[in-house]
Amino acid sequence: MRFTRTKAAVAAAGLALSLAACGGDDGGGEDVEVAQDAEFEAGTTMAEIAERGTMTIGTKFDQPGFGLLGLDDVPEGFDVEVAKIIAGAMGVAEEDIEWKETPSEVREQVIEDGDVDLVAATYTINEERAQRISFAGPYYVAGQQLMVAADNDTISGPEDLADNPDMKVCSVTGSTPSENIREYLANNNQLVLFDVYDKCADALGNGQVDVVTTDNVILLGFVSESDGEFKLVGEQFTEEPYGIGIEKGDTAFCEFINETLADNEDAYIEAWERTAGEVEGTETPELPEPAECA
């Protein structure tokens, strides 16, 4: 292949322009309030973090609306913003936060090993997980729902799945929704599992599966991207409270996080509106009542 110097220069210039265009819109949003001289009781996790002035926070890097790594190598999303509010209350500015990718299967491990100070990663609070770590929050309650192709009139809720055993239901291996949906299915062959939800959406698009199920907020992202090809059906049939994962038994830190969220409700709502709330069809949540810290 021959590639002249002029062509290369034009291509490079075009690339530079398009990159500049991306950089123009500063996705970081408003600056989160950073407490100047926060005082904490000696020996607590907060005191240690405030003293250190930096934090390591685990989040997802592949979850649109909650934690998605951008081209500038900084994750963006609702989880990220909530974590910034908490960090700010301990005097840690967002540039002093080190983000660590924590996919679902390593979340408990990184907390136990002390690799991160906290995990905010669409982390559903459940009993099994609470045996290894503690949860602050919940800061958001998602719910599982079904997504189908726009022309599908057969499925109008999870109850219809067992009556249509030929319809394939797609979810992600090891996710809470993939376990929850099993009781609604005629048999296990009805469930198709991938490693990421993108593949489920692709499979729904080309007719290989008929239903995709996971938390409503994730599905809404796909619906809004699909140009009317997909729709949500039925009510939310589970409650998935998202919590902040912290070291097991750190009650003081847990209470501090809950108080911080309660004190910053405006910042919380604003954070929602410029991240996950940008997707059409989502409702701005109210901060849920925190669970008891244990």
Partner: protein, 216 residues
């Protein structure tokens, strides 16, 4: 090891599922690979070209890409099947290129005189291959074929991520993600499952090698 012992039934079902994927892929890739190897040494130029093109294309593509084309490309052009069929077919196609090359090395190790002698007594190309060359080629190809197939056993874990699910590796993922078990013991259990398959295969291969090792 508590997470493993508590979920032995899940591990067992995952083990059987993986064994199924492996069994079909072993059968399919051996048959397809042998046909391709025959193509690559055949006197017909177009068959040779086809075999070479297949090996070049498939062997140089990452397995995940091959599986992507199976699971998402074929439905786009109207070919529909279950993801299990797509996954196994993808693994068969991918492995067949390596089987073909391992076998070809075996064929090349058979003395030219053998094929010439076969032709001299009037055997056709098909007869020469099936009666004279391939039986000898398989013998010297047993060790490389074994390596190729053991690699395929482990590649079966990738197939699980393409809608097949419920295989041994996916069981590990389910236990760590949804049920919050610790990573290390769960994956150790998964590793033991694969070792049971691969080590058994290694022993069988050793036996096979001894059985077919005939001094020439």
């Amino acid at each position: 090891m508590e997470p493993v012992l508590d979920n032995l039934d899940l591990y067992w079902s995952g083990f059987l599922r993986s064994l199924g994927i492996i069994g079909w892929s072993l059968l399919g890739s051996m048959v397809l690979g042998t046909v391709l190897a025959a193509f690559r040494v055949s006197p017909v130029a177009s068959l040779r070209a086809f075999g070479t093109a297949w090996v070049t294309l498939v062997r140089n593509c990452p397995l995940t890409i091959v599986l992507f084309f199976m699971a998402f490309g074929l439905p786009e052009v109207g070919v529909n099947a279950s993801f299990y069929v797509f996954g196994v077919t993808g693994l068969v196609i991918y492995t067949s290129a390596f089987v073909c090359e391992a076998l070809r090395s075996g064929i090349n190790a058979v003395d030219r005189g053998q094929a010439e002698a076969a032709r001299a007594i009037g055997l056709t190309f098909g007869q020469t291959m099936t009666q004279v060359v391939l039986p000898q080629a398989f013998r010297s190809a047993v060790p490389p074929l074994g390596s190729v197939q053991i690699a395929m056993f482990k590649n079966s874990a990738v197939v699980g991520a393409f809608g097949v699910g419920a295989d041994l590796f996916s069981v590990g993922k389910t236990l760590t993600s949804a049920q919050g078990y610790a990573y290390i013991p769960v994956l150790t259990g998964v590793a033991i499952g694969y070792l049971v398959i691969t080590l058994t295969a290694g022993v069988l291969l050793g036996l096979l090698e001894r059985k077919v090792a005939i001094a020439r």
